[in-house]
Every structure is written in C-alpha cells, then in structure tokens.
C-alpha cells in the first residue's frame, strides 16, 4: 500500500501545547501504521485562517485542520447551538450536553464531506474591557467590538440588545487604543496569547460562552486509508483530544494567573447581577432558536442541560 501524506493546518503557534500534542499524534500515527501515514503540521496559521483552511480542505490541498466551533459553524450552522451565550455555567454541564449534541453535529458534518477526528476545548469566552464592567446596563453603553467575518456572532449580540461594532482582529488592538471600541469578548487563553489583555486590562468574571475545537479531516483524505489504519488513527486522535481538553482547562487557570500578575483586574459579579446578565443573554434566545440554529436543535440542547441540572448534576456547586 502506498504511503499516505496528511497535511494538517492549525492556528496554534509553533511550539505551543496544542502544536506539541499534534506533533506527538503524528508520530503515533506513523508508528501505528508501520510508517504508512505521515502527518505534516502547518502551525501558526501559515496556511490561513479557519475559513481558508476549510477552503483548502475542500480543494484537496489540506486533508485536515484544527478548527474552532466558530469555524465549524461556517460549515454547519447548527454548531451555533453550542455557542448560545450563558447557556452553560460549568464544564460539567457543558460536557454532559456537548457529548450528546456533538454526535448529531458529526453526522451533519459528514454529509458535508468532513469527518471529526476528535473534539476538544478552546475554553471560556470572557469580556475584556478598558474600564471596569460589571452590569449589563454598563455594557449597553459600551462600544463592543466583534469580528465581522462571523456575521452570526454579531447577530447574537444584536439580538441580546447590544451594539457590537464590526471590527477585524487586525484592527482590534488599535481600536482599543484609540477608543473606537472599548470592550471585546474573547477566549481567556487567546487574551493572553494575543496579549490583547494589555489593551483591555479589566475582565468581568462571567462565563459568556464555552468555545470548543475539533480536529477535522476531509473524507477524501480519509478514504485513502485502509479500514484498519483508519480506526487506528481515529483511536489515537481521540486519546490526544482528551489530553488536549485536560491541558487546556489547566492552562486556562495558568493564563488567568499570569495575566493577573501582569496587571489584569478581575471584576466579580454577584448573584443578583448574574441574573440580570442571564436576562440579557436570554433576550437573544428566541431568534437564535428560530433563525440561526433550528428549534429542534436548540430545544434539544436546552432540555439536555435542564436534565443535567435536575438529575446528574443535582447538588452541584453552581459555579
């Protein structure tokens, strides 16, 4: 059998945790298939952003990519169901729901020609601001920057009654300095990695939405493998995905600690204010349900979460 080369793109910087684990996965793929599967990793976004990596998978230049849920949603809109603001409070209930929902998502992605090798986490999205932010009322007065390349995430903010200013990632640092925007919402780990927290030195202690990631492979690439090799690399990928998830969650703590040491202020949100935030987020639910996701998917997610809160997770710590 001929050797199969698999090219995988990722935004994770060279030498980062993610990159190292992916390299290790490639090594194990090679071992498990007697040297027949060879993985080349293009790290640090050198083969383009998520949208470009997906495009290159479609034309057959890349076979695989590490993609966040936001990128996935561009392929399959129902993925937005897992990005509903303040739907989830803890990793426990998030894990409970996503395991179930991701199974459906895998089936839908497979209809579009993509196979999910494994799921993992990017972490919680928080608000980072130039001046302290604690209440939804304050946020309504702010200039909230949001990426225009994902129009749906902008829409979600609008439906919640907020006024997002479309601003590209490239303009974000400058925009924060000049006052074009004063608030952003990004994954905690990204805030540290991109150093954006230095322009927005206040963080609101409110988990807005969890962001997951996936190792995605195009079916065309997968078909070149024998059934035996396919199941082997899938098994290894799943194991690596689980380790990535654990590491990311630990890294989140470390990143927060580092940023605090370098001057990040974290602003607590008390329970009554949290309820106000929840009310704000819920304002967007009807339209997310009807226009973005589909009532079916949305209701399933909500009832799964409620089931967890009622049963499996009852008596848990609310945070």
């Amino acid at each position: 059998q001929a050797r199969v080369k698999i090219r995988m793109g990722t935004l994770a910087p060279k030498g980062s945790n993610w990159h190292q684990l992916l390299e290790e996965m490639g090594f194990r793929w090679k071992q498990a298939t007697g040297g027949e599967v060879e993985l080349t990793i293009y790290a640090g976004g050198i083969v383009g952003g998520e949208e470009e990596m997906i495009r290159k998978m479609r034309i057959g230049q890349l076979q695989a990519a590490a993609i966040s849920n936001a990128g996935l949603a561009e392929v399959e809109r129902s993925a937005y169901g897992l990005m509903v603001p303040m739907m989830f409070e803890s990793y426990q209930e998030w894990d409970y729901v996503r395991q179930e929902v991701n199974r459906d998502l895998e089936a839908k992605l497979s209809e579009r020609g993509f196979k999910v090798l494994t799921w993992s986490d990017v972490g919680w999205v928080y608000f980072f601001t130039r001046t302290p932010l604690q209440t939804p009322e304050q946020l309504r007065q702010r200039r909230l920057g949001a990426s225009p390349s994902e129009p749906a995430t902008l829409d979600i903010m609008k439906w919640a009654g907020l006024n997002p200013v479309p601003i590209t990632i490239a303009d974000t640092a400058t925009g924060l300095q000049t006052g074009l925007i004063d608030t952003i919402y990004i994954p905690l780990i990204f805030a540290q990695g991109s150093q954006l927290y230095r322009e927005a030195r206040n963080m609101t202690d409110l988990r807005w939405v969890p962001l997951q990631g996936a190792l995605l492979m195009h079916e065309d690439g997968l078909e070149r493998l024998s059934a035996e090799h396919r199941s082997k690399i899938l098994e290894i990928a799943r194991e690596v995905g689980e380790r990535l998830r654990r590491q990311t969650r630990e890294q989140e703590e470390e990143a927060l600690q580092t940023m605090k040491e370098r001057g990040l202020q974290v602003w607590p949100v008390d329970e009554p204010t949290r309820r106000q935030w929840l009310e704000l987020a819920r304002g967007a639910y009807p339209r997310i349900r009807e226009r973005l996701v589909s009532p079916e998917v949305f209701d399933k997610i909500q009832s799964l979460r409620d089931a967890y809160r009622a049963g499996a997770g009852a008596g848990r710590d609310p945070r």
Binding site: R55, I59, S149, V165, A170, T174, L180
Partner: protein, 598 residues
C-alpha cells in the same frame, strides 16, 4: 462591442466608488446606530476581489498590465512578430490554467454551500475569478500577430498545460524545467508580470501534485482580507489628487518656503515626490504623474538635464516608508507584525533618505550659486493660506485613526472623499461629468494590475509554504552562514537582486515569508527587518538593467534607457549608503518606537 466596453469601464469604476462610500456610510451612522450596515465590512472586502479582476481585465484590454517591458527594445525588425506571438500564446495559456483553477474552486465551494451574507453564496461572488482570467487570456491572445491563424497557432500553445493538467502523471515527466524556462523567457520578453508569476506558481503546484485551484483560493483569500481595501482606496485618492490642483499648489507652497535656498528647487521636487509616493504607494505613479510637472520646473531653474532626470527617477521611491504607504501596510500584513509600529520604525530611515538625497542636491547646486527665487515671508504665508486644504491632507487620515473615529480602511475611504470634495468641489479643477470616469478608470486599471500580481504571487507563496521551503532554506542558510553580520550582508545583496527583478508587491508576497523566519533565527528585530527590506528594495528599482523606475523614467521623460542609467547612477550610490546605514545601525529604526513606548 463599444457598448460592452463602456459597461465594463462603468462597472469597475462603480465597484471602486462603492468601496469608498460603504465605509463612509458606516462611519456616519455609527454614532446613532452603532451596529452599522449589515455585513458592510464583508461587502467592502469582496468588492476588492471584483475591483481586482475588473480592473485587470480593463488593463488587459488597454494593454496596461504591468510588465518588465525590457523585451520591447531588444527585439526589432523580423524577430518582433515572433516575440509578440510567443508572449500572446504564453499569456493565453497561463490565463486558461488559472481560469480552470478558479472554476475548480467554485465547484468545491458550491458543494460546501458557504454563504457570504444576505443569503448570497460565496461561489457566486467568486465567479469573477475564472471569468476574469478567461477574458484577460482572450485579450492577451488577441495581440498575437498574423491575423486569425496567428491567434489560433498561439492559442494552441495552451494545449500543453491543459494536457498536463488532464494527465496527472505527467508530473514526473521532466516537462517542468523546460516550461519554467519558457515562462521566465516570456516574462523577460514582455509578458505581463502576473503571467510569469501565475505560470510559475501553477507549474510548481502541479509538479508537487497540488491542485492549481490553490492559486484561486489564495487570490480570493488575499483580496478579501480585511486590511486590503486600503490599497485601492489610497491609490484612488492619490490619483484624484495628482490629476487635480494639488500638485501645483504643493509645488507653489514648497517653492515659496524653500525656493530661495541654493538647491531649494531640487528639495521642493523631492518633498513633493515623497508626499505623493506615500499616498499612491508606488514609485511608478509618482514618476508618471509628477514627472510632467517637476521636470520642467527643474529645467527652468537651470538644473542640467541629466541631473533632473536622475533626481526624479530616484525621488519616485522616496516616501515609501511614510504613512499611509501601501508597501508598509502590505509588509505588515504578510509578516504579521503591527503596522503602526512598522510605520513608526520607518520614520527616521525615511527622513534619512530624503536628507541624503537632498544634501546631495544642495551640494550639487552650490555651483549654480543661489536659489531660483527670492524669499518673501508675505508670499510664503499667502501660499500657505492658499494651500491650507492640501497641507491638511495627512492630518485627515491620521486624525481620523488616532481620534478613534475610523478604522484604517475607513480612514482610506475618508481620504477618497476628501480628495473628491477638494478637487471636484472646492478647487473645481476636475469636473464630475468630464473627469470622474477618466480618473477613477485610470486608478482602477492600475489597482487591478497591481492586485492581480499580488494575488497570483500569493499562489506562489502557497507552494513555498506547502512544500516547506522556508524551513529548508532556514536550515541551509544556518549551516553555511555563521554570523549575523554576514547574514545581513547576504540579505542586502539578495534583496538588491529581488528589487531588480520584482516589483515591490510581488516581492513582499513571495519573499517576506522566506526571509522572516531567517531574520528571526539570526536575531534581527522583525521591524528592523521590515525597514531593511523596503529600503533595500527601493534600491533595486534604480539598479540597471531591470529597475522598474528606470523604465518608467525612460518612458516618461522620453530618454533612452542607457541615458537614464547614467543619470541615476550617483543617486543609486547615495541610496546604497542609506541602505547600509539602515541595515547596520539598528537605532535608526528602533530608537523612535522605543521612545514612543511601543
């Protein structure tokens, strides 16, 4: 036919003007309705894609696609038809290959079913790529001599690459090297630069068993990237200003202040050139647009012919480091470094270049004894008042950005509006009925030509990255080059060569991904590297035999190329000195950013 062409011209101008108006509308309504116009940023980005392909198609029709053009002069007499036949056939073949890649991309995107905004599928917007390349290819083919049979035989050349794409296993057939040489030859003989770059990119991808549609994917990715709308917008603004009253007023203004100094008129020419290059981003535009105004002014002040030609040829690339220069923006985009810091890093080197060339001009003028005009404070002040709106131009852009009113793309759009109001309204030098289509049309042809080069050059970069060439190069260089100084010296020579052979835009797209990791490995500060790159590249424009500025000057001043070579020589020496200072004395680039707290 005439009607179709008029529609084509109108479309390309409309796309360009809409690109300027959308961000302005967005800016205007933001204070009242912060969410802005739905998807406007996305639409503006995709208009760049259309402006690129429409502009390039018009440029192909008008035979204004950028080429090295040196071949024009080499062949004469009987060999000339053969040259034109070859250039037409190769151009057509490459365009067909690119169009096929574009089509493959669309088929793949259709299956994927991505939507842009307002329910418009992405592939519909991308249709402009295969169609545009096909039209350009046809227009290049039409230039083949020998009537219908000339065209048919030249067009038959396309059979080779198409057969190669059909039979995949030709990849190892040893066909690659001969085709590569033919492509290089055709480019040297006057085929458009984008044909050479696109052809080589397609060839390399094909022999690496990669899809040729990667070029279309990169072209789409680049032209729709968020920062790119600034390129066409600043160029349009520069064109409007250059066609209007601004050059005359600026010359009068600088003349009133500096004309009394011995050599002051030369200084005036330098400053005006630097000002315009920073806006139009290409030294070419400056030479073409300003040459006609400044050359007579220098001659009138009794500067010798050769000195005047040399000064203006060299001055065309001064100002490439000052905001809002597109070269700097594109470098920052490709190298993924902060564009503002790159601008700040370039301030001192940019001023140094002007000071060195200006100093030389002053020394040279000592022989003429005194200035061309007597100084009068009253005249200087009255000229300042007369030209206040022109002098304010840089403040408009910087004020909008630093004041937090606008993003970079919006500031560029604001600049277009300012130029439009100033030249069509206030100064009434241009009339909307008579001039708007003409000026915007000329701008869109140049924009299309430049962005097309950049788009296919990105396809070449795609190959370099996929084939992991930068990593291999890094290893090879690190094995052989031990010290940082030696590395910098080799870098200077390499960039000089690149500057001779490539325009600034393709050089940025192709070469930066190669040298950025090298610079990192040798501990060269990325901003320092960027400024070295740009200053060094400018030098290449003045280096015989194929410096771009030399050709343009020869064309503009109607002087033989050899005469321009000789005229530019002393200035070449001075610019080389600037390159050395910038390279080996890092504080020139690093002190100011540090002072400003970057």
């Amino acid at each position: 036919m005439k009607k179709l062409q008029a529609i084509e011209d109108l479309l390309s101008v409309l796309a360009l003007l809409t690109m300027a108006l959308l961000p302005l509308a967005e800016m205007t309504i933001r204070p009242f309705y912060p969410t802005g116009i739905p998807g406007s940023t996305l639409w503006v980005q995709h208009l760049v894609l259309w402006v690129t392909f429409l502009g390039a198609a018009v440029a192909a029709r008008e035979k204004q696609l950028l080429s090295l053009a040196s071949g024009d002069r080499l062949f004469a007499g009987r060999a000339e038809p053969l040259r034109r036949w070859l250039v037409a056939g190769i151009g057509f073949s490459v365009c067909l290959v690119l169009a096929k890649g574009g089509w493959d991309l669309i088929v793949a995107e259709r299956e994927g079913g991505s939507l842009l905004a307002l329910g418009v599928p992405v592939w519909v917007v991308q249709l402009v790529m295969p169609v545009g390349w096909a039209v350009i290819g046809w227009r290049l083919l039409e230039a083949a001599p020998g009537g219908r049979w000339g065209r048919i035989s030249a067009g038959a050349l396309a059979g080779v690459p198409l057969a190669a794409l059909w039979f995949d296993d030709w990849g190892e057939s040893g066909l690659a090297l001969p085709i590569f040489l033919v492509l290089l030859g055709a480019t040297a003989l006057g085929a458009p630069i984008f044909v050479g770059l696109g052809g080589i990119a397609a060839l390399l991808l094909w022999s690496n068993f990669d899809p040729v549609s990667a070029i279309a994917a990169e072209a789409y990715g680049l032209t729709t990237s968020p920062i790119l709308p600034t390129v066409p917008l600043f160029t349009l603004a520069g064109y409007i200003l250059a066609e209007g009253e601004t050059p005359h007023r600026l010359v009068a203004l600088f003349r009133a202040w500096f004309g009394w100094i011995p050599g002051g008129i030369a200084l005036v020419a330098l400053l005006v050139c630097a000002f315009f290059t920073s806006f139009t981003g290409g030294s070419g535009v400056t030479i073409l647009a300003m040459g006609g105004l400044l050359y007579p002014m220098l001659r009138e002040a009794r500067y010798p012919e050769r000195f005047s030609t040399g000064l203006l040829t060299s001055a065309g690339s001064l100002g490439l480091l000052f905001p809002p220069s597109l070269a700097v923006i594109l470098y920052g985009l490709v190298a993924q470094i902060d564009i503002r810091q790159l601008f700040v890093s370039g301030m001192v080197p940019g001023i140094l270049e002007i000071a060195l060339v200006g100093g030389f001009a002053l020394l040279f003028s000592r022989r003429t004894g005194r200035g061309a005009v007597a100084f009068s404070l009253r005249e200087a002040l009255s000229q300042s008042w007369r030209s206040k709106w022109e002098a304010l131009i840089p403040m408009v852009v910087l004020g909008a950005i630093l004041g937090g009113f606008a993003t970079l793309a919006e500031a560029a759009a604001l600049m277009v509006l300012y130029a439009l109001v100033l030249e069509f309204g206030g100064r009434r030098r241009l009339s909307i009925r008579r001039d708007l289509l003409r000026v915007a049309g000329a701008a869109s042809t140049l924009i299309g030509g430049v962005l097309m080069i950049l788009a296919v050059a990105k396809g070449l970069t795609n190959y370099l990255i996929i084939a992991e060439i930068p990593a291999a190069m890094l290893e090879a260089v690190q094995d052989r080059v031990g010290s940082r100084l030696l590395f910098l010296l080799l870098l200077n020579l390499f960039l000089l060569l690149v500057g001779c052979l490539m325009d600034v835009y393709s050089a940025i797209a192709v070469v930066v991904p190669l040298i950025a990791p090298l610079g990192m490995a040798y501990g060269v500060d990325p901003f320092h590297l960027g400024i070295i790159f740009l200053v060094n590249l400018e030098l290449g424009y003045l280096t015989p035999p194929v410096g771009m500025n030399l050709f343009l000057a020869s064309y503009r001043f109607e002087r033989p190329l050899t005469e321009v070579y000789r005229a530019a020589l002393p200035f070449l020496g001075i610019r080389a000195l600037a390159v050395l200072l910038v390279t080996y004395f890092p504080p020139l680039t690093q002190a100011l950013p540090r002072l400003l707290g970057f």
